[in-house]
Symmetry: C2
Subunit: 460 residues, 2 copies
C-alpha cells in the first residue's frame, strides 16, 4: 500500500503515525486521556530538560505546587473563573464522604500560586520572583480531542513572575520571548508571534502574545503564550510589596506557557510519508546503527556504539536477529531517527561508515572522520529540518488583497486596520481567526485604512 504524504489526509496520517511509532497510546478508556509509552515519554522528557535549561539560564527557579485548588481560592478571580469554570474537573468526595469544600483539578496554576505569592512577596527585595513548574493540568474539553493538541490531561510548562512595575514585567516578556526563540530552535519549529487581538487574550491578561505554527492541513496551532497580567491578579490575590520608600504597591505579573503541543507540532510539521522526522537535539535516539550481517560486523558496530555513547551521543545498535536490514531501515525511518549508520563487510574492511540522513541522502566516510564530524552532521540535519519546515510554512501563507480570495483552508496574510468591526467582517467572510500582526503596513483589506500585515487562519 502506497503511504500517504501528510498533506494528503493530514488528520488520518497524524493519528496513525503517533500510534505506530509509540509516541502515544490512545486506548486508555477515558476520552482525551492518553498514555505516554516509553518512546513518546522520552521525547517529551528531552524537551522538558531542554526547556529547564533555558528557564534556569534566565533565573527562573523550578517549584511544584499542589494539583488541587479549593473552590474559594479558585473563585476569587472573577474574570479568571469566567475563563475556566466550564472546563474544570470538580472533586466533591473524599472516600465516601462529601468534602467540606470542593476542589478543582488545576486547569492552570494562577489560583493555586497567587495566594502563596502574597506570602512570598513582602518587599522590593523579594522581586523579581520568577518560578516555573512542569506539571500536568486538566481541562474538561468539550470539543473534539486530538493527541498532544487538545487533550484533557495536558503536560504543561508554566512560568509565573512578579515584578515591581509595568515596565519590569514587560522586560520579563522580552526575556520569555528570548527563551522561546531558543526552545523553537531546538525543536526546529517555524512560527509567527505577536499580540493577540484584545478579545482573544487570556482571561485576566492585560495583553497576550501568541506563538503559532502551521500544520500541513493549513490549520494553525498555538504552541506558546506569554501574558502580561499588569496588576489584574495581584489585586484580588493581594500580592503587595513595600517599595524603597516604604510605600505599599501591587506587583505586576507575567506568565509563560508551553505544552505537549510541541510534540504534536514536531510530528505534524517535520514528518513525511515515511513517518516521523525528529530534530537531533531532542530525539530519544540520535543515531541508529544497523548491521548487515557478516564477519566482524557486530564487533565493529559495538565499538562504534561505545565510542558514540562515550561522546554523549544518544546512539543505539539494532542487533535484532529476526529482522532484515531493509526492514530495520524502514522501522527506524518511521520512528524518525535523524541519522542511520549502515555497517556491512565493506565498511569493516575499509574502516568506513555508510550514513543515511533521515532528511535524505547517503554518504560514505572513514570512521575517524565520522567520529570527529558526528556532532556537526547532527547539527547539519537539525538545520535541514528547520529550513524545510520554515519553507513549508512560508509556502502555506498566501498574501491576499481581496477578502473574497481567501483560501478555503490554508492561512492567509492580509492588511488589517486593527478595528473590531473589520475583524468581525474578516472572520465572518473567511471562517478564519486573526492570529497576530507585524510591523508591515498596507491598506486594510476591509476599510482601506492603514493596516498591519496580519495572519489569519483556521485554528486547532
Amino acid at each position: 500500500m502506497e503511504k500517504e504524504e501528510p498533506e494528503d489526509n493530514f488528520s488520518e496520517w497524524y493519528n496513525d503515525i503517533i500510534e505506530r511509532t509509540g509516541l502515544s497510546d490512545k486506548r486508555y478508556p477515558v476520552k482525551g486521556l492518553n498514555i505516554w509509552p516509553p518512546y513518546g515519554w522520552k521525547l517529551m522528557r528531552n524537551i522538558d530538560q531542554m526547556i529547564r535549561k533555558y528557564f534556569d539560564s534566565k533565573d527562573y527557579q523550578e517549584v511544584n505546587f499542589p494539583t488541587l485548588i479549593p473552590e474559594s481560592q479558585f473563585n476569587k478571580e472573577a474574570e479568571h473563573i469566567k475563563g475556566f469554570s466550564n472546563e474544570v474537573y470538580w472533586i466533591t468526595h473524599g472516600g465516601n464522604d462529601p468534602l467540606d469544600e470542593k476542589l478543582v483539578l488545576r486547569p492552570t496554576s494562577e489560583t493555586a500560586m497567587y495566594p502563596i505569592f502574597s506570602l512570598w512577596v513582602r518587599s522590593h527585595a523579594d522581586l523579581p520572583l520568577r518560578i516555573y513548574q512542569i506539571v500536568n493540568v486538566f481541562r474538561y474539553e468539550t470539543k473534539q480531542t486530538r493527541t498532544f493538541i487538545r487533550v484533557r490531561e495536558i503536560h504543561f510548562i508554566e512560568g509565573h513572575t512578579c515584578h515591581e512595575d509595568y515596565q519590569s514585567a514587560e522586560r520579563q516578556v522580552s526575556d520569555d520571548i528570548e527563551i522561546w526563540k531558543n526552545i523553537a530552535d531546538e525543536v526546529a519549529l517555524p512560527y509567527i508571534m505577536g499580540k493577540r487581538p484584545d478579545w482573544d487574550k487570556f482571561p485576566g491578561a492585560h495583553y497576550t502574545i501568541g506563538v503559532d505554527t502551521f500544520f500541513p492541513s493549513g490549520r494553525s496551532l498555538q504552541i506558546a503564550t506569554m501574558h502580561h497580567y499588569k496588576d489584574n491578579f495581584s489585586k484580588p490575590y493581594d500580592i503587595v510589596y513595600t517599595d524603597e520608600n516604604g510605600e505599599r504597591k501591587y506587583a505586576h505579573q507575567t506568565t509563560f506557557g508551553i505544552s505537549e503541543r510541541l510534540v504534536g507540532a514536531i510530528v505534524g510539521i517535520h514528518g513525511d510519508k515515511k513517518g516521523l522526522i525528529l530534530p537531533p537535539k531532542v530525539a530519544p535516539i540520535q543515531v541508529i546503527i544497523v548491521p548487515i550481517p557478516g564477519e566482524g560486523v557486530i564487533e565493529y558496530c559495538k565499538k562504534l556504539l561505545k565510542n558514540l555513547t562515550e561522546m554523549g551521543i544518544r546512539a543505539k545498535l539494532d542487533d535484532r536477529d529476526q529482522y532484515t536490514p531493509g526492514w530495520k531501515y524502514n522501522d527506524w525511518e518511521e520512528k524518525g531517527i535523524p541519522l542511520r549508520i549502515e555497517i556491512g563487510l565493506r565498511e569493516v574492511r575499509d574502516n568506513k561508515v555508510t550514513l543515511a540522513y533521515r532528511t535524505g541522502g547517503k554518504k560514505n566516510m572513514l570512521i575517524e572522520s565520522f567520529m570527529s564530524e558526528v556532532q556537526n552532521i547532527l547539527n547539519e540535519i537539525q538545520e535541514i529540518i528547520k529550513k524545510n519546515a520554515k519553507e513549508k510554512m512560508d509556502s502555506y501563507i498566501k498574501f491576499i488583497d481581496d477578502i473574497e480570495k481567501s483560501d478555503d483552508v490554508m492561512p492567509n496574510a492580509i492588511y488589517w486596520c486593527g478595528s473590531r468591526e473589520c475583524a468581525t467582517k474578516i472572520e465572518e467572510k473567511t471562517g478564519k481567526s486573526i492570529l497576530s500582526s507585524s510591523e508591515e503596513y498596507g491598506k486594510c483589506i476591509i476599510c482601506g485604512e492603514k493596516g498591519n500585515k496580519t495572519i489569519i487562519s483556521k485554528k486547532y
Copy 2:
C-alpha cells in the same frame, strides 16, 4: 535561644527545620497538600534523577499514565478496592455537568495500567515488561498529616512488571532489592528489610517486602516496598500471554514503590541541632564558598567556583553583601550543605582553601591538592553521614527477651515464632507493630518455640 537536638523534641524540630530551610511550604490552604519551593524541589529532583539511573540500568522503561481512573476500572479488583476505596478522591463533575462515569484520582496506578498491560502483553516475546513512572498520587488521608511522611498528594516512584511465571517475578523482586540498595547508598540511609507478616501486606499482593528506617523519635518509617503479585491482578485484568507452546497463561507481576518519604528520612535521620545534613550525592548544593572580605578574595572565590562547576561539582558562591561570614556559616549549615569553603586574605596569599565539613572538622589545604581531592572529600563526607546514621539506628534497637521489658517508644528486637497468635500478644503488650524478620533464630518471646529475630516498632 539554644537549639534543640532532633532527639529532644523530634516532631517540633522536624516541622521547624523543613520550613526554615525551604524544603516545603506548608501554608497551602488544603490539609495535607504542601508546596515544594525551589530548594526542596531541587533535592527531590536530584533524588528522582538518581532513581531513574538505577531503574534504567535494570531495563525498566519510563512511561506516564493518566492521573484519572474510571470507576468501573478501579472497582474491578475487589481486593484492591478494599484497600483504597475509603481514601480516594472522587471527581464527579466536569464543568457544571455530572460525569457519565465518576473518576478516581489515582492512589497508585495498578488499576490505570493493568487494562493496558492486557493489550501490551500478548506473547512470551513481550515479557518481561518493566515500566516505571514518577508521578503524584493522591490519598484522602484521615490520619494526622506530616510533611513528606503522610500527605494527601504524594510524589511517587512506581515500578510495575509482568513476567512469564512465579520464579521470573521473584527474580524481579531480587533485582528491585539491588536497585534499592544503590538508592539507599546514595541517600546514605540505614534500613531493615524483610517480608511483612501476611496480615500486613499490600492489598492484592502475594507477599510484600517492606523497607523501614527509624527516626530519632524511635518510630519506624516505611520508605520502600516491593510486592510479588503472583497472578492476583493479571486474572481480573486479563493480562494473558501465549507461551512458546501456544498455551495461554496469566502473567505474574511485581511492583516497587518509593516516595517523597526519602526526603523526610534524609531530614529526620541525618539532621542535627544545627539543621539539615544533606548527603553530597543528592544535595542541591554540594559546596558553598563563603568569602571573608579582603583584597582579591572575591576574584579568588569566583575562579574557584568556575573550576568546581566545570568539574561538575554543584557549587555556589555566597557573595551577598548584607551578611557577615559568621551569619552565612550558620545559614548554610542549617541548609545542610556538605562542604563549606572559607576564603580570606590568608587563603589568597598562601594559595589555600579552608574547609569546614558539615559533619564536623576543619581542614586547610593547598588549592591544587583540593581540586584533585574534592570528589574524594565529598565521598568521604557521604560515608561519614552513612556511618553516623547506621550507628544511630543500631543504637535505637535494643534486644529484649522479656516482653514486659519492651521500651516505651524505642523499637525492639525480639524472637518471634511467626504465628498470628503470638504476634497479637506482642502487639497488644507493646503497642508496636511487627516489621520484618531475619534469618537469626532463638526462642519466641511469647511461646518459647523456635523464632526469627524480628524488629517491632511504633510506626509513622
